[in-house]
Subunit: 455 residues, 2 copies
């Protein structure tokens, strides 16, 4: 495609870097990816910091476009809904979607990462490991790297530098020095801790395999996602301070007592509970917003580097992959006019990444608290019934985000309208048989435009 | 007071540093202030970056407590209200307060700074100039400084370090590296440019001396504050981009035409208009919020370093001085329990500095746009009438912020209630004679508690 290939430098070989790299290599660019960590295909990665990911429509679409989806199917476990665990051990299942096709897919971050790196290399992208970005001269485009073992420093120049280096982005750190760079980082008062539920002796899953398990406890929660090896990745979300918090759970016996009191059905499934708890680090969760994401046509931030979000809508991965999809679409439309591509990407995309950031924070309260409320489950049931009757107008907020590629900002806005409609028709009834369908239809058709027009 | 004096290190000899320093020296501490710039009493300061300040009740209270107010009186010019200039040259005066005592006071930032530095030194605080803070080890408290001329670096330790080093704070920059440090910087899309209106040949002021002059033009504005030497410090606030913006006003002739069209009465008063315009830098305006402001009992951010705000409520100085007042009160209450002092300061103060940050942004639209609207002036008239009838309950928002020491957060909340009441009683009438006083009284007494209870 290009007579003399342009070099595109990508910082970070996490999930977005390799996906973007392989798609750019396909288009004839010379792609050089620099990654701070060692090659995880050769060196064992550290445990306890890798929440399993939930791959859904936006992420799958990007993988399909890159021709990777079919080869990944054996790495995923479809999860059909939420399985809520009460303290008494009662289970309640609530489907995510309107049918069997609307599922989210549990996948190990490490396995997905390996598959993407392999594919990028096959396509001709070069990945350089142990290379920490220690400086980026925004004017000249000169990048300073330091090899993590030899400590040797190199400086290189590139036509374009794309920062796919995550929430602690080194590229963004340099952009902070720019005049009029807007930036915000807001941490949740909650941390997380990864624990493991081993497989059964026969290798099978110890809990229902095709569900995301939630132990909602109001101000905190435990969740579990299935792995293909029969284990569950279990994550405890707990406040840093206060009565039930990481600050108070500091002794072996306190942790055991806490789990026995709050999650009694989990204790027999987690023989290494306290080992896990005291060995694994406590993670933090941050929302990052910044603007602009680019410097002329020279550099761009993408994925968590531009807009880190909290994990409660399972959209971090999917949102990053959608960044790749949309950037590539603009590149195909505008050719090598990088200043225009980057500017339009920022203009089109930021409103949507801001929206999913807010939706993700909203969804935390839903997961840890409201899913335990029968009124909430009733509303979910009504939502599905309304979608069945008005599929072009009333799509539940969760579905717009997870099973469609409707812009996140549209999902946020329509979701708010739908919430008001639901309150108006559900708040005084307790059974779906008592629903005033005519009134619901009237509210929907007057307040919600058909969805096709907005996509 | 102390048997062996503790050393308190203050970074920054701007306005807050010397005020806090002298008050701490009075209490028996050894105070060392390090300032990046040269001593402005010996070296001419750069022009064009020093908006005049408007000293009001909160700032005056702090200066009175420090015993400095009386000696500053000859440096100030009281401004009794806003003088609006229409394009046709018509003048409209709107008083700031309910009587002659409610005025704001124009003062030169440089002159106030010199007075404060002199007073701090008299009290025994040492000020070290040309010393740039280039690092601060949060754990050990070790501070690294570099002399701006000799380039010599020194490291020093201190019991307590207080960052009074403004919106680009070096101390805050180090705190950004802390885990879970919340931070946001948001720039306005507007810049500002300082211009000068010289005094008349006889040394007098070329415009009404006891007013803050405003040329409100909707999407931009010009303001002018009187100086004691007969000049006015004039500031143009203009968008960075767009039709009337710093981006388009790049040629000599464009600037002249712009002023002739938009501010015709200013042109004859500004013989050096284009010189000023092209020589003086274009300033940016940023709102900074962060949390927490302290690291244990070792360091604290204060003033703009903790909470920079835009200048449109004239509260940057007053808010910083109120920080000093409240920190000293907590110190007097809790003694040398620095962890407790810093924690309570943050808890008590941040809610109020967040509020004034939002109020300052709100007030920009009021100054550049709404002050030109007769409806707005009518509402201001009604506000004063309501205050005269209900002085303990209805105090205009501007007055709560400027002439009282009511917490900013209370002013924000009560201001919102009052705005709704004003809309309800003003929106359908055009003369104060038609006001429904009984209804107004009813709304006020049911919705607003007496103010004494909230102070």
């Amino acid at each position: 495609m290009l007579s003399r290939p342009q070099t595109i430098t990508i910082i970070g070989a996490g999930l977005n870097g390799p996906l973007l790299g392989l798609s750019l290599a396909k288009r004839g660019f010379r792609v050089e990816i620099y990654e701070r960590r060692p090659d995880m295909r050769r060196v064992r990665i550290e445990a306890g910091r890798s929440i399993n990911l939930a791959l859904s429509t936006r992420g799958i679409h990007a993988l399909q476009t890159a021709g990777l989806w079919d080869s990944l199917r054996n790495l995923i476990i479809p999860m059909k809904g939420r399985m809520m665990h009460s303290i008494a051990g009662e289970l309640t299942f609530q489907p995510y979607g309107k049918d069997e096709a609307e599922v989210i897919n549990s996948i190990s971050r490490a396995e997905l990462n390996v598959a993407l790196m392999n594919a990028a290399e096959v396509q001709g992208a070069a990945i350089h490991f142990d290379q920490r970005c220690i400086g980026f001269e925004l004017k000249s485009g000169a990048l300073r790297l330091r090899h993590e073992e030899s400590r040797q420093e190199t400086t290189l120049e590139s036509n374009v530098v794309i920062g796919c280096d995550g929430s602690a982005s080194a590229i963004r750190h340099e952009m902070l020095k720019l005049n009029r760079f807007n930036f915000s980082q807001q941490y949740l008062d909650y941390g997380y801790k990864e624990l493991t539920i081993p497989s059964k002796l026969n290798g099978g899953h110890a809990l229902e395999k095709h569900a995301l398990h939630i132990w909602p406890r109001g101000s905190f929660m435990l969740i579990a996602l299935p792995n293909v090896d029969g284990t569950f990745a279990c994550i405890l979300f707990l406040p840093f301070e206060g009565p039930d918090s990481f600050a108070t759970l500091t002794r072996h016996w306190d942790v055991v007592k806490f789990f026995e009191g709050r999650f009694p059905d989990v204790v027999p499934l987690t023989p290494h509970l306290t080992d896990n708890y005291f060995t694994n680090p406590t993670g933090t969760m941050v929302t990052i917003k910044c603007s602009p994401w680019y410097v002329e046509g020279k550099s761009l931030l993408l994925g968590d580097a531009a807009h880190a979000i909290v994990p409660f809508f399972g959209q971090g991965l999917n949102c990053g992959f959608e960044d790749c999809t949309q950037l590539l679409e603009l590149l195909d439309r505008h050719g090598l006019d990088w200043p225009r591509v980057f500017k339009e990407f920022d203009q089109k995309r930021k409103i949507n990444t801001d929206a999913i950031a807010d939706l993700a924070i909203e969804n935390f309260a839903e997961m840890r608290d409201r899913v335990a409320d029968p009124r909430f489950l009733f509303r979910k049931q009504v939502e599905l019934a309304l979608e069945a009757r008005h599929p072009r107008q009333f799509v539940p907020k969760y579905a717009m985000v997870t099973f469609h590629r409707i812009p996140y900002s549209v999902a946020l806005a329509r979701g708010a309208i739908q919430d008001r409609i639901l309150s108006e028709i559900c708040d005084h009834i307790g059974r779906i048989e008592d629903l005033d369908w005519a009134k619901a239809g009237r509210l929907i058709t007057t307040q919600l435009t058909p969805l096709e027009q907005e996509q």
